[in-house]
């Protein structure tokens, strides 16, 4: 040890202990702090571990290197190499009666004093200790000591030892090494080869040498500069790493001539290189003045033959702490665990994670692999703190038949969970559109016009189409002595108001029913605002009062009503002044716009029109009432573009189901991924030009694909049915044609269309229903159809009896059973062996059998299609 730079070592056997050595040796004990507080005096190593100092040993000065005795010892026996070349055995234990008592303090002295560079215990013969020394003339630089030489503690009785302990140190000096190697050379690093007890790999001055102790005169060597830090891969005993300056060389001992590979050179010199003991092929390296440990993941088994094999190495770096790292040590048993020490002796304990590979399943559960372990992670079902992802939402909505309510279209937003105001607005818009369409169609029958298509086109087009100049007239406020300019409502504006939901169909322009429905739903503020916009301040006040007195209502509404009743038309009144400033502090946007409306100058209603929190439909209806044609056009245009950009579904009201609407929906889908709403919405829109749009087809295709992936096959089928109702062009073609063996004509033609023409068909079977078709022969050539493999009766006959079921289908009048009984009559056949029969018979056969019912046919018909054995997910889930 250089004295300033600490090194760190894990105990080879007591896995919760490590030693830090700089000028002295300090033994630490690691504890987990997961379930306990940090104890006084202990040092935090990581979030969940801490170390306590057990003992300090400062007996051995001038430490250069330290090695931990490899076989089990409870007393932490360490060998310390010193600057003068001596190797001292020392201990950090407190027990003085251990069997290693005699070894402690023993010194192994080389002939000539020079620095001891490295120490290595033999992993097989635990008493052998190799020491590597600097060069001294022609002296040997690698000395192998037997720590038990001179005397063996097992034989010598304890009393005698105690006596001898009082003697001079000389008895503990050992000067005769077991082996002397590496004459006239310097040894920088050492490691024993696990292949054989007597093989020692040494990094000498200019070469790597393998010494064979069985024949010390011979050595195998290769000239290289990379002689420092030789270390053997614990998983592949022929793989060795060594380094020189910033470069690591990996050697294969089976072809020792040159390194099998060298790792990318690092700018600073390396200080330590170590293989991970718990995992194959992971090498950790550390450079001087760095806070990074670089890891090299050699992800393949080295092969002796593969000369041209490009090794796959993945380089990684970890940063355990912010300071420079002095040294590190792998934990001997814990997976990928490492402890590092900094020059000022702060330590940190951490684990190098394996690269985690991960995958989402279609039902939003995440699976990942970390090392050798697999983890599955699912979103907790009943957790409301986080908003669910759209994938989960779509799944739940599909189960609740979202989008399929074609009677009361607005109800679909309730099926979607009644939580999204945009969806609510969308489905109301669609509801009104469909409603109006129906109405205008009825009207059109009486008086032909072109408004039917206008309904789909949205308010933007409706407003644009209004050609006749609209004149404004002054209208009286009910209950007030005031007049305000209101646009005369032409047909287009009435239609727009109808789409906004303010007024019902027909020419009736009364908003009364709409107000009542709002009051019923508890939307008092909105109702009051709508009443006010229809110049009925008295009704507005009345509604607010109602709201305040109702159970869920807000008492403050009374205050608002009071403020409202103080309305004055005077320009410079205190009321006007206060209202225009204080209204901005109102939380409810509708209350806010009410005062904005009352305090606004005639003709400029920006406070209402650009209050984004107010529903688009109310703002648009307001605009239709109060803005002149040019103003209205400009406003609608602006709002439409805003909605399109934001992908706000409320904007469908403006765009309608036109190309503009598809543009808007596109930005909505880009934003949310909600192809479900997009598909259902665009299906509702009639005009085929919208449905033909490539994007719409793409959403539909993707939604169907989603349903398939979730195994919501029934839902997908329902969707297809729904789709073909609204878009007849999407009707799928027949999937199978059954033709007669003899004449080659389709047998289904007459089956489906003219069931009663089979005069010559046999009246086989017991069906009592005369309307049921019986086709046992080809309608073309009158040759019989194939026979069912089980009942051996020609197909086309009703199934006379189902094993396990009641005797006949006509007796059971439960509709479900009837449906199934119909299915029992169907033809089925195996696509592999072409044997088949009545579906019901086949099903019951394969309930108990794996092989085909036809003799000598070993086809496992039912198992061939693995998807066919999957159950649709809807039937499993609640």
């Amino acid at each position: 040890m250089s004295g300033t730079k600490p090194d760190i070592l894990w105990a080879p056997h007591q896995v919760d202990r490590f030693v830090v050595c700089d000028s002295e040796l300090s033994l630490y004990h690691v504890e987990s702090t997961v379930n306990s507080e940090l104890k006084a005096g202990s040092l935090r190593l990581s979030e969940d571990s801490a170390a306590t100092l057990l003992s300090i040993n400062s007996d051995t000065p001038y430490m250069k290197c330290v090695a931990w005795y490899l076989s089990y010892d409870p007393e932490c026996l360490l060998a310390v190499g010193q600057a003068n070349g001596r190797v001292v055995l020392t201990s950090l234990g407190q027990d003085h009666n251990s069997k290693f008592r005699d070894l402690i303090g023993k010194e192994f002295v080389p002939k000539h004093a020079r620095q001891c560079n490295t120490l290595a215990w033999n992993p097989l013969d635990s008493n052998w200790l190799a020491a590597g020394l600097d060069k001294h003339r022609a002296d040997f630089s690698v000395l192998i000591w037997d720590i038990c030489s001179k005397y063996t503690p097992d034989i010598i009785p304890m009393e005698k030892v105690r006596l001898s302990a009082g003697e001079t140190e000389t008895t503990l000096l050992v000067t005769k090494p077991l082996y002397e190697l590496g004459q006239n050379d310097a040894c920088l690093s050492l490691c024993w080869l696990p292949r054989d007890q007597k093989l020692l790999l040494a990094g000498m001055h200019r070469n790597l040498a393998i010494f064979d102790l069985r024949n010390t005169s011979q050595k195998m060597f290769v000239n290289t500069k990379a002689v420092q830090g030789v270390t053997v891969d614990p998983y592949f005993h022929d793989r060795v790493a060594s380094f020189y300056e910033g470069q690591v060389a990996i050697w294969d001992l089976r072809k020792f001539e040159k390194p099998v590979l060298t790792l990318t050179e690092q700018p600073k010199p390396l200080t330590k290189v170590a293989w991970c003991p718990t995992r194959t092929g992971l090498l950790a390296t550390l450079t001087r003045d760095s806070n990074i440990i670089r890891l090299y993941d050699m992800q393949h088994t080295p092969t002796p033959i593969g000369d041209e094999t490009e090794p796959t190495i993945i380089e990684r770096s970890v940063q355990p702490c912010d300071n420079y790292i002095a040294s590190f040590a792998w934990h001997p048993t814990s997976q990928n665990r490492m402890i590092v020490v900094t020059p000022n002796r702060t330590m940190s304990d951490f684990t190098v994670f394996e690269r985690i590979s991960l995958a989402w399943s279609p039902i939003t559960s995440l699976m990942w692999a970390c090392g050798r372990h697999l983890y599955e992670c699912t979103e907790e079902e009943n957790d409301n703190s986080l908003e669910k992802d759209i994938a989960t939402k779509m799944r739940l909505r599909a189960l609740s038949r979202y989008g399929l309510d074609t009677e009361q279209v607005w109800r679909n937003h309730i099926l979607a969970g009644n939580e999204d105001p945009q969806l609510k607005s969308l489905w109301y818009t669609l509801h009104y559109i469909l409603f109006m369409k129906q109405y205008t169609e009825d009207m059109d029958q009486k008086s032909p016009g072109n408004k039917g298509s206008l309904v789909y086109a949205g308010i933007k087009s409706i407003v644009k189409s209004s050609l006749g100049m609209v004149e404004n007239t002054r209208h009286n406020w009910s209950g007030l002595d005031k007049q305000t300019d209101i646009q005369n409502l032409n047909e287009e504006r009435i239609l727009a108001l109808q789409l906004c939901g303010w007024i019902k169909k027909g020419t009736d322009v009364d908003v009364g029913p709409f107000l009542n429905s709002l009051v019923q739903e508890g939307e008092w503020e909105r109702a009051a605002a709508v009443a006010l916009f229809n110049l009925d301040i008295r009704r507005a006040i009345q509604i607010l009062n109602e709201g305040a007195s109702s159970e869920k209502g807000d008492l403050n509404l009374n205050v608002v009503a009071m403020a409202l009743s103080g309305y004055t038309d005077e320009k410079n009144s205190l009321w006007r002044e206060m209202c225009s400033t204080l209204r901005l502090q109102l939380n409810n946007p509708y209350l806010c716009v009410m005062f904005a409306f009352l305090t606004s100058e005639a003709g400029s209603y920006d406070g209402v029109l650009y209050e984004n929190k107010v529903a688009v439909r109310d703002r648009v209806a307001f605009a239709c009432k109060f803005l002149s044609d040019t103003q209205l056009n400009r406003y609608i245009e602006k709002l439409t573009n805003e909605m399109k950009e934001a992908g706000n579904l409320e904007g469908i009201l403006l765009t309608g189901l036109t190309k503009d609407g598809v543009d808007l929906m596109e930005s909505y889908v880009d934003r949310t991924g909600d192809v479900q709403t997009a598909s259902y919405c665009m299906l509702q829109g009639s005009p085929l030009d919208v449905l033909k749009d490539e994007r719409v087809q793409y959403w539909i295709e993707n939604y169907r694909n989603l349903l398939d992936a979730w195994r919501f096959w029934h839902k997908r089928a329902e969707f297809d049915i729904h789709r073909s109702k609204l878009d007849p062009s999407s009707k799928p073609l027949a999937q199978v044609f059954v033709s007669c063996n003899f004449c080659g004509k389709s047998i289904s033609y007459s089956c489906s269309t003219v069931p009663h023409q089979g005069r010559g068909f046999s009246q086989y079977g017991v069906s009592g229903s005369p309307t049921k078709s019986k086709v046992t022969s080809c309608p073309g050539c009158r040759k019989p159809l194939p026979r069912c493999a089980l009942c051996l009766i020609n197909m086309g006959t009703p199934v006379s009896s189902c094993p396990g079921g009641s005797k006949s289908d006509e007796k059971v009048d439960l509709s479900k059973d009837k449906k199934l009984a119909q299915f029992n009559n169907w033809f089925t056949w195996c696509h592999n062996c072409r044997h088949g029969g009545h579906a019901g018979h086949m099903l019951s056969w394969f309930r108990d059998h794996a092989e085909c019912p036809v003799s000598a046919c070993t086809c496992k018909c039912m198992q061939l299609d693995t998807t066919g054995n999957l159950v649709p997910a809807e039937t499993v889930q609640p």
Binding site: F353, A359, L366, W368, I390, G673
Partner: protein, 313 residues
């Protein structure tokens, strides 16, 4: 809140890839122990290993499922320079009784001279096609002209990427608006490497795959969000089925989930440690240490995204 539970994988070495089938009912894993395991989900939601066999003579990097309309078909690729196609056989052995299914090798694709780093089936509307990429930078596209015969694959295209390839991904979109596309990622760490992600598009006229990266392209690419929270290299990312949640894993040993709010602001919605334990949030969030590897985008498999909902624009 996300909760993780451990599954006894019983692989003898590192698991490199996890892959779900189309329905999410089956799963395949592959490992350095040279084997592939197939897992089936029971009604109760537990995973059972129904097959485990040695597939290659080297680490198996990736495993992937074909669409079920082609049968129960897997493809794997390995360090041993090959990719293989596997099919499950039913009813030919007694293994069914032990709950084990039988997988046979239908073909071995041996064209690569180096480790095959990724393998992916094309979207089903293209038929039975397979793309592989290898460490020497070549993307190969194979096709089985007869979907009933999985043992015949013809090499349709060979594209040289000039960079060591580490991952590959098909554009899942089946829209007719654009031709089939493949994105290839590289893990080349040299600083003067060119574009690390290259996108190739099939050109109907020349019947060749065209590159569209590096140089002027018809695609405009812009960064929607960027996260440095891993504070280290990011290894894998994966999109959920709708492309609305992103999961990422990094060298900090954490799995993070990302989700955009309605205004395209992406936020981390969950962190879990690689060993499944939750992360004590504050300590992680406040970590100011500078990010290390993150400025070297490592594309081990950053491309396995699939987005069902989004229109490609």
């Amino acid at each position: 809140m996300f909760v993780a539970r451990s599954i006894a994988a019983d692989h003898k070495d590192l698991i490199h890839d996890v892959s779900f089938d189309f329905h999410g009912r089956r799963m395949a894993t592959c490992s350095s122990d040279q084997s592939v395991k197939v897992w089936d989900k029971s009604e109760s939601g537990d995973w059972h290993c129904t097959a485990s066999w040695k597939t290659h003579s080297g680490s198996v990097w990736r495993v992937t499922w074909a669409h079920p309309e082609f049968g129960q078909v897997l493809a794997s690729c390995s360090f041993d320079r090959t990719a293989a196609v596997w099919e499950e056989i039913v009813g030919e052995s007694n293994d069914k009784l032990r709950g084990q299914s039988h997988w046979v090798k239908r073909t071995t694709l041996v064209d690569s001279r180096t480790s095959v780093t990724d393998v992916k089936f094309a979207p089903k509307h293209m038929g039975l096609m397979l793309a592989t990429c290898s460490a020497d930078g070549i993307v190969r596209i194979y096709e089985a002209p007869d979907v009933m015969n999985l043992s015949q694959w013809s090499l349709q295209h060979e594209i040289s990427c000039k960079l060591s390839c580490s991952c590959i991904s098909w554009n899942p979109s089946s829209s007719r608006a654009h031709s089939p596309m493949i994105a290839v990622g590289s893990d080349d760490s040299s600083p003067n490497a060119m574009a690390k992600v290259q996108i190739f598009e099939y050109n109907e006229n020349t019947r060749k795959e065209l590159t569209s990266s590096g140089g002027p392209t018809k695609f405009e690419i812009h960064i929607v969000a960027q996260f440095d929270n891993h504070n280290s290299q990011v290894w894998r990312v994966s999109w959920n089925i709708t492309g609305t949640v992103l999961a990422s894993s990094g060298d900090d040993g954490c799995v993070r989930l990302w989700k955009a709010n309605y205004m395209d602001n992406w936020k981390c919605t969950g962190i879990l440690k690689g060993n499944g334990s939750p992360v004590s949030g504050s300590a992680q969030q406040g970590n100011p240490s500078p990010s290390l590897g993150s400025n070297i985008p490592n594309l081990q498999s950053s491309l396995n995204g699939s987005s069902a909902g989004r229109k490609h624009s």
